[in-house]
């Protein structure tokens, strides 16, 4: 029988005990077609914009093409073979992804990304459960996706929003201030790893502290999931938001992981087909569990692509991936600190950092610096990184940011440092 599942398996053989083998970065690079790209000026691409989005291995791209070329069909509620294969692949992907995140598939709701995931909690849970007198605790290092939905909730429902500040010396959350902010809190929303600073927050402790005052906890793992294995059931958070595109998966998909008892408190968000039990002109009744939150034609190709990405990642030990990234980032940051005029925001050398390096030069404007780096083939991001309150705390409008992933090499880092030195010598 034709098996769309087999099609999901990538080039390299599946190996869950990869921790015996050291990472073979050259073999990994060979999985990513884009890494051999040359820019129009002839320069070899060096992709250091991984916190914005990761590149995709060929097996992910191919899994989606194969879906469209061999068994594309709308899933669910159809009897014919193609629909059945598409449904099996879609549900197979859900099983694969949820088990990668250490939970069961009924605690996973597909969304278009981390942003929609957080909005789903704001609309589907918070608007049902919270009102005047309730408190939502955020931190100063949240991404806008984990700020604006709560400000809107505050406008609509009178909920109080509190921000936990960061210590701008150590670039870490002020845990004493968190302790204070937790008083009377109903929901605590914290970013697992800052997309600007690379700081990995002590989320285990935060979850414990929050739950001990009876608050539910949402962890924004958009940056965390590409850098360490997120184990939903053992972490114990109530909600975890994830984007596929930052962890080797396609654009247009992500999920919110939701604990069963929190899900039971939720009401519908977007409505329409699939999420219903029965529709009449008078009233409609809805499906139970995660099915209530997925309406319309599913993101079929995207789910299959993400499933393939998770399967690709599953070959490796995430601890080793983290160490490799940390090595490259620490070396790079240490070298950058030697370059006159460069200032780094954060401590990428810290062992648990994602290695994202936010930096500025004292005289070369950030946009100019990005252009000059691009001229050398180096893709870094420039801007406020959707974290303006954090920028305000750091006292800058924007930063340049170099961020690394599994396929980046020490050789790329060396070339980057050489080019950056050259820019600073010539343009400052």
């Amino acid at each position: 029988m034709y098996s769309p599942h087999a099609a999901l398996i990538g080039g390299r053989s599946f190996d869950q005990c990869g921790d015996d083998l050291p990472l073979d970065i050259e073999a990994i690079r060979a999985d990513f077609p884009i890494l051999s790209r040359r820019l129009p000026n002839g320069k070899q691409l060096v992709y250091f914009d991984n916190a914005a989005t990761s590149q995709k291995p060929k097996c992910v791209i191919d899994a989606m093409s194969r879906y469209y070329e061999e068994y594309n069909s709308n899933a669910h509620r159809a009897i014919h073979t193609l629909a059945d294969e598409a449904t099996a692949a879609l549900e197979g992907a859900r099983d694969m992804i949820s088990s990668y995140f250490g939970t069961s598939s009924d605690q996973l709701i597909y969304t278009s990304g981390a942003t929609e995931a957080i909005n789903l909690v704001a609309y589907g849970w918070a608007r049902e459960k919270l009102g005047k007198g309730d408190v939502v605790v955020l931190t100063e290092m949240e991404h806008h996706a984990d700020i604006v939905p709560w400000q809107q909730l505050s406008i609509d429902k009178g909920v109080e929003v509190r921000f936990v500040p960061i210590d701008t010396e150590s670039f870490t959350l002020d845990m004493d201030a968190l302790e204070v902010a937790l008083d009377g809190a109903s929901l605590v929303c914290v970013v697992h790893t800052s997309n600007v600073l690379g700081v990995r927050n002590p989320i285990e402790k935060i979850i414990e502290m929050s739950q001990s005052v009876g608050a539910r906890v949402l962890i924004d793992c958009a940056q965390g999931a590409p850098h360490e294995r997120i184990d939903f059931d053992s972490l114990g958070a109530d909600f975890i938001a994830i984007s596929a595109h930052k962890m080797a998966g396609p654009t247009g998909i992500g999920c919110i992981l939701v604990k069963k008892d929190a899900m039971a408190e939720m009401g519908p968000f977007m409505t329409g087909g699939s999420m219903i039990k029965r529709v009449t002109m008078e009233k409609s009744t809805f499906q139970d569990g995660n099915a209530m939150f997925e309406t319309g034609t599913p993101r079929i190709a995207e789910a299959i692509g993400w499933g393939a990405a998770v399967e690709w990642l599953n070959q490796f030990d995430m601890g080793e991936i983290h160490d490799h990234i940390n090595d490259v980032a620490s070396w790079t940051a240490a070298q950058m600190r030697e370059i006159p005029g460069i200032k780094i925001y954060g401590e990428p050398e810290r062992e648990d950092s994602s290695g994202a390096i936010s930096f500025l030069h004292e005289s070369i404007q950030s946009l100019d610096l990005a252009l000059l780096l691009d001229e050398g083939g180096f893709a870094v991001r420039t801007g406020h990184h959707c974290a303006q309150p954090l920028m305000d705390a750091l006292g800058v409008p924007s930063t340049n940011r170099a961020s690394f992933w599994v396929y980046n090499t020490m050789g790329e880092a060396e070339a980057f440092i050489d080019h950056l030195r050259y820019i600073v010598e010539r343009f400052s």
Binding site: M1, D84, E85
Partner: protein, 142 residues
């Protein structure tokens, strides 16, 4: 789930009849016939939420009990004849057996009948859900 064969001997002629079908259309025809010859169908007015088998594409319902002689009794019904036919074969297989034997049985008769070629992933799943439900209920009756 069981190596070799785990179905009762009295099912052999039926398994053979199916396995000798020329193609799947003929096999479907036979399933339609068995649907009509279902020994213990569950009439639609006894279809309830509690006895529904979930994860089937058609509506399917099973009610399990023991008869006067202590033998297993499977009453079941589905809106689709194809499913009803498979259920009929299953009922023929298990009715009268010792519940503990039913609880141990495997779904391998379906393979032997040659049904598998027509089972896309979720149809296979639907059949297995039905079969597991019967086995579970049998376990409770031991």
């Amino acid at each position: 789930m069981g190596i070799g064969r785990s179905w009762p001997e009295h099912l052999d002629p039926i398994v053979e009849e199916f396995s000798e079908c020329f193609d799947s259309m003929e096999r479907y025809e036979l399933l339609f016939e068995f649907a009509k010859r279902h020994p213990t169908p569950l009439p639609p007015d006894e279809w309830e939420d509690e006895n529904q088998v979930h994860g089937c594409q058609s509506r399917a319902h099973v009610v399990c009990s023991v008869d006067d002689t202590g033998g297993f009794l499977l009453r079941c019904g589905a809106d689709a004849q194809v499913v009803q036919g498979l259920m009929a074969v299953t009922a023929i297989a298990v009715n009268g057996m010792d519940p503990s034997a039913v609880a141990q049985m495997g779904p391998d008769y379906a393979d032997a009948m040659g049904i598998k070629t027509s089972l896309t992933p979720s149809r296979a799943n639907g059949f297995l859900n039905m079969f597991r439900r019967v086995r579970e209920e049998a376990g409770k009756l031991v």
